[in-house]
């Protein structure tokens, strides 16, 4: 009975804590606006096939006659090209919406997997301590001393092109951040009484780690994960721009920009311009939210 009471209490504190965190978060209007923007982008990305004016992958819908039209022009049959068309007569707005869908999917999937992987490694290091901790953290340190772009480039160079390869590269780049972050907070939590109590009850290790340690060591990870999603989007775009990322058949935002690069010099600026604006909006909105979350969840930086 006593145990059940503690659990109920725990759940309540979680709710209260989350509510308070959101309240504090909402004090910044910029951050709320950014959060709204992210939700909007996510909705657009998920509903892409219904929202986009045309299916940019369906070649039968494209009319080569409409190639490289500037923004706000109309096609022969009167369809409005809000952001212009590319060299194949593809509506840029549709291409951007579908590109955003791919960019966000890649980034979110990679971040999710890296988060789980990194959290497991970090928790293991913190809970086991001693030599295991030293070895794992040394690996993390070495990896973090190399820039993400370099690791990703090399991995993609060895593995080859493709969406799955990019996801693997992004996971390999990210996991170490989560491992280090959760180890830091788990080391603090580990010394608290409730962990001692849980261990005193002779609960199995996995239960102590995942039911007691993990939930309490998790909040700092939210901040890191938010910022890392933004990083992942930028990194995927960079790899794709360099021609080492996603295949040409399913262009992400980075590849759309790379395609526009060639037509920029001859004056068709919009092909490279608008996909970049979409990238900038997505990344900046996520960073603004991450920045505010960091202020709210990290008491050291609080006003």
């Amino acid at each position: 009975m006593a145990l059940v009471d503690i659990r109920v209490d725990d759940i309540e504190t979680w709710h209260v804590r989350a509510g308070r965190t959101f309240g504090e978060f909402a004090e910044s209007r910029v951050a709320v606006a950014a959060l709204g923007l992210i939700v909007l982008l996510l909705v657009v990305a998920v509903l892409a096939p219904w929202v986009a004016p045309q299916n940019p992958y369906d070649l039968s819908q494209l009319s080569i006659m409409d190639n490289k039209l500037p923004p706000l022009s109309r096609s022969l049959d009167g369809q409005l090209y809000l952001l212009g068309t590319d060299d194949q007569g593809r509506d840029m707005l549709s291409a951007i919406i579908f590109g955003l869908r791919l960019s966000l999917t890649v980034a979110i999937v990679a971040t999710g997997i890296a988060l789980v992987l990194g959290a497991c490694v970090g928790l293991l290091a913190a809970y086991a301590g001693g030599r295991i901790d030293a070895v794992l953290m040394r690996i993390v340190d070495i990896q973090l001393s190399f820039p993400a772009i370099l690791i990703a480039l090399i991995l993609v160079a060895i593995l080859g092109k493709g969406v799955d390869k990019v996801v693997i590269a992004l996971i390999s780049v990210q996991w170490a951040y989560y491992a280090r972050t959760i180890r830091g907070s788990a080391l603090v939590e580990r010394r608290r009484e409730y962990i001692e109590a849980a261990r005193g009850l002779a609960l199995p290790h996995w239960r102590v780690v995942f039911r007691h340690l993990l939930p309490n060591a998790f909040p700092p990870l939210i901040v890191v994960a938010t910022v890392q999603v933004a990083h992942a989007i930028a990194l995927e775009a960079t790899l794709s721009f360099l021609g080492l990322g996603v295949p040409i058949t399913e262009p992400s935002l980075g590849l759309l920009i790379a395609n526009g690069y060639g037509y920029m010099m001859s004056g068709s600026y919009w092909i490279a311009f608008y996909p970049g604006i979409a990238l900038l909006i997505a990344i900046a909105a996520i960073n603004l939210v991450g920045d505010r979350l960091g202020e709210v969840l990290n008491p050291r930086l609080a006003r």
Binding site: A157, I158, L242, I283, L288
Partner: protein
């Protein structure tokens, strides 16, 4: 102090060894080494000769020993495309990259520290908040796209700066540099700005946090209580406190700039080692990729080592904790 240096040096060697092993595993063991190391245009006889010459018929540990041995003598293979030793190719491209990275670093520090200090001193003012929001935009903007937009504005629309290349170079101590000719400088400014903006935002944020932290510390309060002028408090005491983290980050960022130059160099057709890497990846010129990796790992270890030294000199507490451990 000496013991600390030796231990750091040993750690550096260890990292190089680990990375070299990983490179070996990645290039020689995981993939098919014959495909990787022998040009695809080679005929059957050439293939067999090459297999024997490279020792690919020997057991893996012998191959590893051979790889280490030739790497130690500076032989990292011959480029398939250029037909010259890969290491020479990398070293000949290195000055261009280093020049770009250094100028970008100067730009980012020149913008970052004053902006961060200003924002940290007046966090609630319009300027302070503007700087901090601007810094978020600065590190959110995709680097390669920023480069494209600068080209679009200054080279295509305004036609005042060149879109790419390195321009005229001048030999300084036998190394060609663009920094000292007007034409070279005109070519350098856009890529250096592109590379510098991202880091400028990071340094701004770091200086901002450092300034706000320092203002609450006892030594700043004490300096104020002593009646020192605001200029002296900020210019000496606060600045000194924020320099410690900034120096560390600058060191690490120099390394990351060299890596990030890969993207900038590709956008601006800047003939550095980053562009060479991308070209080599396209053309499957694996010896160059391997050589680039080894060179960059050694560079990183050297940079990290130097940062540690500067850090130790700046902050006496590090030295103490270093000796205890």
């Amino acid at each position: 102090m000496l013991a600390f240096l030796f231990r750091r040096f040993g750690q550096g060697l260890f990292v190089v060894a680990v990375m070299a092993t990983l490179v070996f595993v990645g290039v020689y063991a995981l993939g098919n080494p014959i495909d990787i190391l022998i040009s695809p245009e080679a005929d059957q006889l050439e293939r067999e000769q090459a297999i024997e010459r490279l020792g690919l018929d020997k057991p893996l540990w012998v191959q590893f020993a051979l790889f280490v041995k030739s790497a130690l003598t500076g032989n990292l293979g011959i480029s398939f495309v250029h037909g010259v030793p890969a290491i020479d190719l990398i070293l000949s491209r290195m000055p261009a990259t280093l020049e770009l990275a250094f100028v970008a670093l100067v730009i980012s520090v020149g913008i970052g520290i004053p902006a961060g200090l200003l924002a940290g001193l007046t966090p609630r003012s319009l300027i302070g908040r503007g700087i901090m929001t601007g810094s978020i935009l600065g590190f959110s903007v995709p680097n390669f796209w920023l480069g494209l937009m600068l080209i679009l504005l200054f080279a295509v629309e305004l036609k005042v700066l060149p879109a790419g290349g390195r321009g005229e170079t001048v030999d300084v101590l036998g190394i060609g540099l663009s920094l000292f000719t007007l034409d070279g400088l005109r070519h350098l400014i856009l890529p250096a700005l592109t590379l510098g903006i991202y880091k400028a935002s990071l340094i701004t944020r770091l200086s901002y946090a450092g300034t706000r932290d320092a203002l609450l510390q006892d030594f700043v309060r004490f300096a104020r209580a002593k009646g020192l002028s605001e200029r002296r408090v900020v210019g000496v005491h606060v600045l000194k406190a924020i320099l410690i983290p900034v120096v560390t980050v600058i060191g690490l960022e120099l390394g990351s700039m060299i890596a990030f130059a890969v993207v900038t160099e590709t956008v601006f057709a800047w003939p550095g080692m980053g562009k060479l890497l991308i070209e080599s990846i396209y053309r499957l010129d694996r010896p160059v990729i391997v050589a680039y990796l080894i060179v960059i790992v050694v560079m990183f270890v050297v940079i990290n080592f130097t940062v540690d030294l500067i850090y130790t000199a700046l902050d006496p507490r590090v030295r103490l904790s270093g000796q205890e451990a």
